[in-house]
Amino acid sequence: MFDKNYLEKVRQEKEKWEKLYENLKERDVKFVTDSEIPIKNLYTPLDLKDKDYMNDINFPGMAPYTRGVYPSMYRGRLWTMRLFSGHGTPEETNKRWKFLYENGETGFSAAVDALTFNGIDPTNPDGAPEVGTSGVPLYCIDSLFALTEDIPIDKISVALVVEPFTSAPVCAMYFNMAKIRGYDISKLMGTTQNDILTMTVGYIPYKNCPPNHILRLACDFIEWTVPMKNVPRWHPINFTGYNYREGGIDAVQELGFVFASACSHIDNLIERGWKVDDFVGRLAFHLAAHKDFFEEIAKFRAARRIWYKLMKKYDAKDPKNFGFRFHVQTAGSSLTAQLPKVNIVRTAIQALEANLGGCQSLHTNSYDEAICLPSEEAALVALRTQQVISDESRIHNTIDPLAGSYFVEWLTDEIEEKVWKYMDKIQKVGSIDKALSTGFLYKEMRDAFHKRRMRIENNEEIMLGVNKYPVPYDDVTDVFRTNKEAIAIEVERINKLKARRDNAKLEKILDKLRNVCEKEENVMPIVMDATKEGATVGEICDIYREVWGIWEPPLAI
């Protein structure tokens, strides 16, 4: 980007400046990013000497999309303010959603409970005490009606945060509900998380099936919604680096996990006979905005460029398919139970990273999340945090304001290079289901847990209130408690449904599902039929378990 003679002059001047600096003492800390990239004291045009504006950065909405996926970015449309939310019962969650909507939220996101995640009905004693404690219980079609009552789901997009093991039944319930309400599902907008790594290394799965089947279930859902055009405007998968990043892996690993996983899904759909352009335009991503301000911004910018290059590798033709569209969540693991109000500041800084990085959608954490599910007050503060940025800060006057910063452009390159290498390391193990079944990813997570713990306990990573200026862990915020009656309410809901449905008809449909699972055909059409007839999520998942078996993940300590 700079003339050779000019760069030579800069080099000479820099040498002079460095001599002045030579004897100045620096503080005794390591100047590195969170992913341990060493950072220089100063960046200059010399760090960008090989860069070409058009090839490497270019204009927003143009390859390689470093500056953003859309030409107008936030001058055209702000990001979607989408708070991940769910607790107690579908009715209570509906109330919370309406409260947030009335206060300016522009997208919904369903946080489901552990039973919904694992395909366990509340009538099963295994998880009964956890009904509604960590999210909304969505066990049957009636729950979906209650969740979305009086909510204009044709106008506002809904993210269903369920993973491949239960994405077919839960989303089929949602689509059936929408059809019965009279909506044309081919026009519905929304997202299903459907991420194989979330319920394998992000959380450990409880009685789920082996990874090769989980990968196929994820691809069944993508195939049925997008290339088969049943719900073509839906985002059928949201590769969720966020969840494993929260475990302690770094920014480079986060993108490595995400892109290696995305490639395995693309390969699977190509094997099924689809062309890349038939579906990749609807694949979406969900990344973390963590503690290292500039590294996270560089990560978002690098991610767009990597995705573009990957799409070129896959020979995608339609430029609409080159854009890396992503949701961001601020880092829950950066929050402390000690001095919880400081979490508001942490979250605000992380939200700013997401916006300066050009996200399409954003969740901001509530200040009480290190202790409990968000209270209404804390959720409102989280939403207002985004609105302070959108309505008061004026950071959106221009697109990608950090482009051209010697440091940010240099760091974007560094991250990109390291991600390619790390992706390669994962892909050498094989497709993403192999990286799971061989235990490779579990070891990576284990090492990350350990490293993070050592860093915090050795004060190399500061957590205010914990390892610097420590205060005792004592609740100084009200603790939000989920509804204790939720279990009785949900068992009653299921019982009512079972009394109403045609059990003989349902049995026949479930038999067909068994057959489809054995033959490894796409499960979605039959899961649509089954959930319409009142099958519960647990009943569908029990058939998966029966046919494919239960998988014990190779955890590493």
Partner: protein, 132 residues
């Protein structure tokens, strides 16, 4: 030194998959020289059976789901029923509000570790208080 190693069963009651806490503490206890049996997901019967069979000194329960009262009470009840409650120390860790600590201690939990715990504190507590 022939001192018997402290034996710890680390278990996750219920079905919630937040696994980082349990693994991090397990590793720290193992690094501190304790014998660590990682039970992973276990229901109440499995926890108590494993604790008896493995002759453990400590049961660590890792609970992040908000259902800590229900699971902990069930484990304690069954340990009492089997007559081993007095022999085994119960420690609880996870996303547990500090407000709940007194009641959990009253129920029979030796100590509770919430967010932001330094693992050395757990090691020290076990070393000082385990019944030998």
């Amino acid at each position: 030194m022939n001192e018997k190693k402290v034996r710890v069963l680390m278990s996750k009651p219920g079905i919630d998959g937040h696994w980082r806490g349990g693994i991090v503490v397990s590793r720290a206890l193992r690094d501190a020289g304790m014998e660590l049996i990682f039970g992973g997901f276990q229901n109440v019967q499995q926890i108590v059976e494993a604790a008896i069979q493995e002759d453990v000194d400590v049961i660590g329960l890792s609970i992040h789901s908000g259902a800590h009262f229900a699971y902990t009470q069930d484990v304690i009840d069954l340990l009492k029923e089997k007559g081993v409650f007095e022999d085994i120390m119960i420690l609880l860790g996870g996303v547990i509000p500090a407000k709940d600590f007194p009641k959990l201690r009253e129920m029979g939990v030796a100590n509770v570790y919430g967010p932001g715990t330094i693992t050395k504190d757990i090691v020290d507590f076990i070393r000082t208080n385990v019944k030998k």
